[in-house]
Symmetry: C2
Subunit: 458 residues, 2 copies
């Protein structure tokens, strides 16, 4: 990967960026616009804005660019006849698929299916993928309860009234500080910030505590173990006592939006054990962690679980979305229960296939594991150099999925941007690194140099 | 538009179609697969399957193909540099848009914005668009209630617990037999069929009766008027008595999935009046009716409302999704409240722009109005010829958005398919016509000839 120089030669945002946002603002809410970009001039790890400023991008469009701007292999896939057809002749995939659909799944997303996952259901966003997984878990729960009985008239009639027994009170458990999306169901499981949730009705679903680990890990072994045990006990207690059946637990391998909160493999094995014990589906939300950035293709592969999760959802770096599963009972008892007009988008599934090919051809997951170790070591040095300004460093052994706390994350993000580094924050005062999978050893000095300078001025 | 001959030369589904579905079935639920298609051989109004059978397609991928298979103008748009960039460099649109985003909106979706609608929020599916509209209406309701007060600590803390007051009980009203999608919020407003809703928890939201009109309309003027008044009274009664505030009413101009149920312009004007009177947002769900098939670009333009709806949602033929609105108070009080990683997809918005260009260049909405009149007249003759077999003909003056009831819709759909016509059903025993906007006078004889033959054999 070529190494370019970050260049910032205007105030930020620059005048052209501001003018573009003002113009767009006439029809579209632009208050969250950071900069207006020139994607034609962007390349690899470097994002260029309309004022000509060039940034080393370690935020990657909120962790959703895998293999770089204007990646040549992706450009080829996007220019293919197959892609043009997918864009122009968009099928109602559930009714009228083409052989291209099967080929794209077989040679793409199914090639990277997590161990134990044989089936896929596609979607268009992480939020939709999670909701589809919730529905699958709920239908499975009711199917087991119903046994071989047919749907009763009482059930089919009452559900049209949003009433019991057809519309039962069934729950999905999530963890404090989690983020699983913004649909009415996924938002009911999101627990990270009020800005996502305020004013929107929510289901009465349980929230379990997520371990609040202390760093450095090797100095808090017993405390952290006790903390994880406390959380697992709370999970089981909630399953046993919640007023409605808990049909699934959803968990992020690393809570991302909520502040890059980690837990140990032992915690997740415990979660697998307690969910199995009580017949609760375990959904692993790999929307942000999936596709290699933790140094394994799926973050949950770090856990070496004794049996796989029941459902694994994905989106972001996949550039499409959906869920994998292994148990065919998660296919509903009748057709058309999990269904919609498009069921995903072949065009985006083809992009996903090209990304997977690029990852495999470049062995980019292994590269990310290796580069992550080096990057972590460099940041560790900065943490020692600037005590109190760069704390709770986390993500060791998790590829480039590295984060730390700092007294004023927004200030540090702005300072880094002026130095030509696009970086992101999460949680309260956490900086999260989300470089692409093409971030290499060669890019480390630019990131570390800027970070050293910016932190020193905090 | 060229006229080809429908050809069916195999059993249906054909052997290659069956084999393809069996193969796909190893990783994907294929129980809803009708036929496996060869989109390279499909053209204009004609869909070709992998066995070489060619169908005149008046179902159009569940009403979502606007201007024909392999449309040349769309192929050009899909082959453009701009499209390749949109596919490869997918931005987090809310943070890092490009000028291409603004241009695509300005020269595309905003060109066809319904009267009175100045703003747009983009999405990826009709279901998501509706949920985003619900959230906008709910945030507006709470904003009015809160006045200039800041969010309270009680609100921001309780919403993380899914509890009041931060997660208030607010309702969205919909109509019996409506379909608005399958997310947890949109599904709570869907009331058409148990297969969509069973086993999924729902919000306690009100369901109003939708007028059950009698046909032919000119023979039931007084009865139908009374029926619509009864429904409007019920709407107002529910607004006044529902235990939680009704923040919005959502309505389809023609209930599609629920059986192609129509109501008069007077009914919708009445709905506008009662919603305005009580400060309830009126959301018009044009996911299926939008983009010209009723003989106007937006079906709600048939109503000549005294003031526009508050929000209009779209998807399907737009090949992307979202909602339009006119009142800037529907932009939430703070940034990041309506937000997600991608906020739509520039690639699909570019397809949408090309579709709009094609519609305008060919004056296809006016054509659809004209062709619809002729088609309706032909079906009217068949209704007279086959009393009891083709009843409740509806959609006069609504372009090609025509439907009728028949004793066994599934049987008629299968018979039509054997004659080379891909046709769809809805509701209980309704046949819905959903030809593309390029369906012309020349295609009518094929459709009517087959319908005559198939109905005669019922």
């Amino acid at each position: 990967m070529s190494v370019l120089e970050p260049v910032v030669s205007t105030a930020l945002p620059g005048p052209k960026s501001l003018a573009a946002a003002e113009s767009l603002g006439q029809v579209f809410d632009t208050r969250a616009v950071s900069i207006t970009c020139d994607y034609d001039k962007s390349e690899g790890n470097y994002l260029v804005d309309v004022d000509g400023n060039r940034y080393l991008d370690v935020y990657s469009q909120i962790a959703s660019i895998a293999v770089g701007y204007n990646n040549k292999h992706l450009v080829a896939a996007a220019s293919s006849h197959e892609m043009v057809s997918a864009l122009v002749n968009r099928p109602a995939t559930g009714n009228f698929p083409s052989p291209a659909w099967h080929n794209a799944l077989k040679d793409g997303l199914m090639k990277v299916a997590p161990p134990g996952m044989k089936y896929i259901f596609t979607a268009q966003s992480g939020s939709e993928a999670n909701e589809l997984a919730y529905k699958a878990a709920m239908m499975l729960y009711q199917r087991r309860k119903r046994g071989s009985a047919e749907w009763s008239a009482e059930e089919t009639e009452s559900c049209l009234e949003n009433a019991k027994p057809g519309s039962p009170e069934l729950a999905i458990m999530s963890f404090a500080n989690s983020f699983h999306g913004r649909g009415f169901g996924s938002l009911s499981t999101t627990r990270s910030k009020a800005v996502h949730k305020l004013d929107i009705p929510a289901f009465n679903w349980p929230k379990a505590p997520f371990p609040a680990l202390k760093y450095p890990l090797d100095k808090h072994v017993e405390e952290n173990k006790a903390e994880e045990e406390r959380c697992l006990k709370a999970v089981e207690e909630l399953i046993l006592t919640w007023p409605s059946p808990v049909t699934a637990v959803i968990v992020e391998p690393i809570q991302s939006e909520g502040g890059d909160n980690h837990a140990s493999a032992a915690f997740f094995q415990g979660l697998r054990d307690v969910t199995k014990k009580h017949g609760v589906a375990m959904i692993v939300d790999e929307v942000q962690t999936g596709f290699g950035s933790t140094g394994k293709f799926w973050a949950h592969e770090h856990w070496n679980l004794t049996s796989p999760p029941d459902l694994v959802t994905f989106s972001k770096k996949a550039q499409t979305a959906g869920y994998y599963f292994g148990d065919e009972l998660l296919i509903p008892d009748k057709a058309y229960r999990q269904f919609n007009t498009w069921i995903g988008d072949l065009a985006r599934v083809l992009v996903s296939k090209a990304i997977i090919e690029e990852i495999q051809a470049g062995d980019l997951v292994a590269q990310t594991a290796r580069v992550g170790e080096l990057l972590y070591a460099e940041i560790e040095k900065l943490a020692a150099k600037y005590p109190g300004k760069l704390t709770n460093l986390r993500g060791k052994g998790m590829g480039t999925y590295i984060a730390f706390d700092t007294p004023d994350a927004a200030k540090l993000v702005a300072a880094m941007r002026k130095l030509g580094i696009m970086i992101g924050s999460c949680g309260k005062n956490t900086i999260r690194l989300r470089p692409m999978l093409i971030f290499t050893e060669k890019h480390i000095p630019q990131l570390i140099g800027a970070l050293d300078q910016a932190v020193s001025q905090l």
